[in-house]
């Protein structure tokens, strides 16, 4: 297998050497919805038309990061390391782009500057291949050190050594909870060896405003397959499932293609890398239920049932899919595994902070200049993400709050922007790391409205199994709506706070337990906005709001 991977790498390198100029077009979801596929076609056509097929090539690659300026095209030349990035390219730009690329010139008025903090301040591990390789060709993944981690794991390491490496890396679950990945692996590995075990990749990215997992799946699907296969080897499983949102057809299509390619190469299926280790991966489609991101609900859904959670313990690590020990990790967690095995746990542990190691991918959105995908070391201050990487709010207006963690998270006010981004610091602020959605809001956003929005979300997405969540979210929504409409009294606010506590403490699963978070955090930092909307209390509300 080693020779085979080396051969593919050599062939790919030779192939790349044939072309003097390469035009890489982002074909991930965001750019694709700005018709970047037509840009690829137009560029290819132009290369033919200008009789340059021997020296120029155009190809589709994964996410280039700065989604708001898409479609993006990166042009590289053989003898230069630096790439030129072009923004908002349409098929009409193809003739001039191809002509300039072939002549080694730059089309100045289309250039997207890359010397900005958005590009300079990032540390890419999970996204190292995004925007560099064609996600639909396994050869390019292999040439970028792909499947080297798996090869090393299955041929040179015992399963326990693989788990040790993950433990040493300090990697924690990237789905939001932050449970140490190595510990989870250890628990499942310790389960009875005679039992069938399963590996599940949670790709049911349901938080509104989060699109990291989607981008990884679409830009670098083999990375997930490799991570899952290494996990399977480490815990002694031979079957894995990827549970993908039904809303992500492109990710599903690319995963399917990747699974077939990996099987053919012998890095997935029976006798992986010439050893006796077998591992199969199947895709399971979600059907639009937010609660299925909860692990026990996700398992029910894979079993073909309604996605309702069940009480834990027993945790899936003991009693999971079909009642067998099951390892569930999020997409980004698995994406971190191959580089950790390849380069060692110590290398990974050197990045980030003491308790939160490595990097985290964030989806920056909302009222911010640079929307898109970023990967930064843990511990970076929020301010650096918002003001420098994100470029601040257009027009230089001040930030009011940053929302992290989706409907389970909270709003962090501008005063706390110097907080380092790690699991514990965000929890202390009343929010959570979450899966990585980061929504920036300016003064025009009303916080009561935001809280109401998230409560409406939780209300509709509540599965209905336990009463506190099913009934509580509806009541909280109506109270928030009443406050927002300026019809509520001081009593309603007291009731709302009581309900928040009750729902948090008595709900069955994470959806209900965290549903009050957006309310609690906005009450904590923006209480005055609530008080301003109340109608009855002249002491706390001197400027009467007309009902």
């Amino acid at each position: 297998m080693h020779d085979q991977l080396a051969k593919i790498t050599a062939r790919e390198e030779a192939e790349a050497q044939k072309f003097d100029h390469t035009l890489k077009v982002c074909v991930a979801a965001s750019c694709l919805s700005s018709q970047s596929d037509q840009v690829v076609a137009a560029l290819k056509e132009q290369i033919e038309a200008q009789e340059l097929p021997a020296t120029c090539q155009a190809k589709g690659v994964g996410c280039l990061g700065l989604c708001s300026r898409g479609p993006l095209v990166a042009v590289s030349h053989r003898e230069q390391a630096a790439e030129t990035l072009y923004e908002q390219i349409t098929p009409d730009h193809a003739p001039s782009l191809v002509e300039a690329a072939a002549a080694g010139r730059i089309v100045a008025d289309l250039v997207c500057p890359t010397d900005t903090p958005f590009f300079q301040r990032q540390t890419k591990i999970v996204l190292e291949n995004s925007g560099a390789i064609d996600p639909e060709r396994i050869e390019e993944y292999v040439a970028a050190d792909g499947y080297q981690g798996l090869l090393k794991a299955v041929t040179e390491m015992a399963p326990a050594q693989v788990i040790d490496e993950i433990l040493r890396s300090g990697l924690r679950g990237r789905g939001g909870g932050g449970y140490p990945t190595g510990l989870k692996w250890t628990t499942v590995a310790k389960a009875d060896a005679n039992q069938t075990k399963y590996v599940i990749c949670n790709a049911d990215e349901g938080d509104p405003g989060a699109f990291m997992d989607r981008s990884v799946l679409e830009s670098d699907p083999h990375r997930i397959l490799e991570g899952m296969t290494i996990a399977g080897y480490a815990i002694g499983a031979s079957k894995g499932y990827i549970y993908v949102r039904g809303e992500y057809p492109l990710a599903v299509e690319r995963l399917k293609k990747a699974i077939n390619q990996a099987r053919r190469l012998g890095v997935l299926g029976s006798g992986i890398c010439g050893t006796t280790f077998n591992f199969q991966i199947e895709i399971r489609l979600g059907a639009g239920a937010f609660v299925c991101g909860e692990e026990t609900a996700l398992i029910a859904s894979i079993e073909g049932k309604r996605g309702t959670p069940r009480p834990r313990p027993p945790y899936p690590a003991e009693l999971g899919l079909w009642g067998e020990p099951t390892l569930i990790n999020n997409v980004e967690t698995f994406a971190n595994v191959p580089p950790i095995i390849r380069r060692g746990g110590d290398w990974y542990a050197a990045i980030g902070t003491d308790k939160s190691r490595g990097t985290k991918v964030f989806a920056l959105a909302g009222t911010i200049a640079n929307t898109g995908l970023i990967e930064v070391p843990m511990g970076i201050p929020l301010r650096e993400i918002i003001d420098e990487i994100g470029g601040g709010i257009p027009g230089g207006r001040p930030v009011k709050a940053v929302q992290t963690g989706g409907p389970s998270g909270g709003c962090i006010p501008a005063a706390y922007l110097d907080t380092p981004v790690d699991y514990e610091s965000l929890v202390n602020l009343g929010s959570i790391m979450g899966s990585g959605g980061m929504i920036v809001m300016d003064e025009s956003t009303n916080m009561v409205d935001v809280a109401r929005y998230f409560m409406e979300f939780c209300m509709t997405e509540s599965c209905g199994k336990c009463v506190p969540c099913r009934v509580g979210t509806v009541q909280m929504y109506h109270l928030l709506d009443k406050i927002h409409r300026g019809k509520a009294t001081r009593k309603d606010l007291v009731l709302l706070e009581k309900l928040c506590q009750m729902v948090r403490e008595t709900s069955l699963c994470g959806l209900g337990q965290t549903a009050p978070n957006p309310v609690n955090s906005t009450l904590r930092y923006f209480r005055q906005e609530y008080l301003d909307l109340l109608t009855d209390d002249p002491v706390e509300n001197p400027s009467e709001v007309p009902a």
């Binding site: 979801a29 965001s30 694709l32 919805s33 700005s34 989604c67 708001s68 898409g70 990215e205 349901g206 938080d207 509104p208 405003g209 989060a210 699109f211 989607r214 039904g246 809303e247 992500y248 399971r284 489609l285 979600g286 059907a287 639009g288 239920a289 937010f290 859904s301 894979i302 079993e303 073909g304 049932k305 309604r306 996605g307 079909w322 989806a363 959105a365 909302g366 009222t367 929307t371 898109g372 929302q403 989706g406 959605g437 929504i439 809001m441 956003t445 935001v450 929005y453 998230f454 979300f457 997405e461 599965c463």
Partner: protein, 168 residues
């Protein structure tokens, strides 16, 4: 995991049932293949009608109540046929603070339908989505599977008007 090796005859001789049968066969007629099978039915027929639910229930040996329960639990499954065109407005957080609700209001008023409904002439279904994952382009809507970003109310109405013109 009971396997049911017997393949039952579909309710009609519509050729699209073969697609559904293929999906069930691929999964060995296992009960756990219920959601996969319903996806296949929806893809082939556009919705899950009573005939389809009964057929899937019998073929996979799953109680009809469970099939109905699953079909109504998940948002992507629809028991009613969709209109000729679908317009999905994203209601994710980024779209919400950048004007998604106004888009929804515009379409609602222009066609007098609520989310989840279809116009009386069967031309347009209005749906909402919980974030289509294109937050960089917010606000976003999906017209017949094509994602359009940075929308304004004018642009949305224009796109919808183009449909009626093309169909005429």
């Amino acid at each position: 995991m009971l396997a049911n090796p017997k393949q039952l005859d579909p309710p009609t001789d519509d050729i699209r049932w073969r697609f559904v049968q293929a999906a069930m066969r691929r999964n060995g007629f296992r009960r756990s293949a219920l959601i996969e099978t319903l996806h296949a039915v929806q893809e082939a027929f556009g919705c899950l009608d009573e005939d389809a639910l009964r057929y899937v229930a019998t073929s996979l040996s799953v109680p009809l109540s469970q099939v109905y329960g699953v079909s109504t639990f998940y948002h992507l499954f629809s028991l009613k046929p969709a209109g000729r065109h679908t317009c999905v407005i994203c209601t994710g957080t980024a779209c919400y603070i950048k004007g998604g609700p106004q888009l929804l209001e515009t379409v609602r008023n222009a066609f007098d339908i609520k989310p989840g409904e279809t116009t009386a002439d069967g031309q347009l279904s209005l749906l909402t989505a919980r974030c289509v994952g294109a937050c960089g382009l917010a606000p976003v809507a999906v017209f017949d599977g094509e994602v359009l970003g940075n929308l304004t109310t004018e642009k949305t109405l224009e796109s919808l008007a183009n449909w009626s013109q093309n169909d005429a």
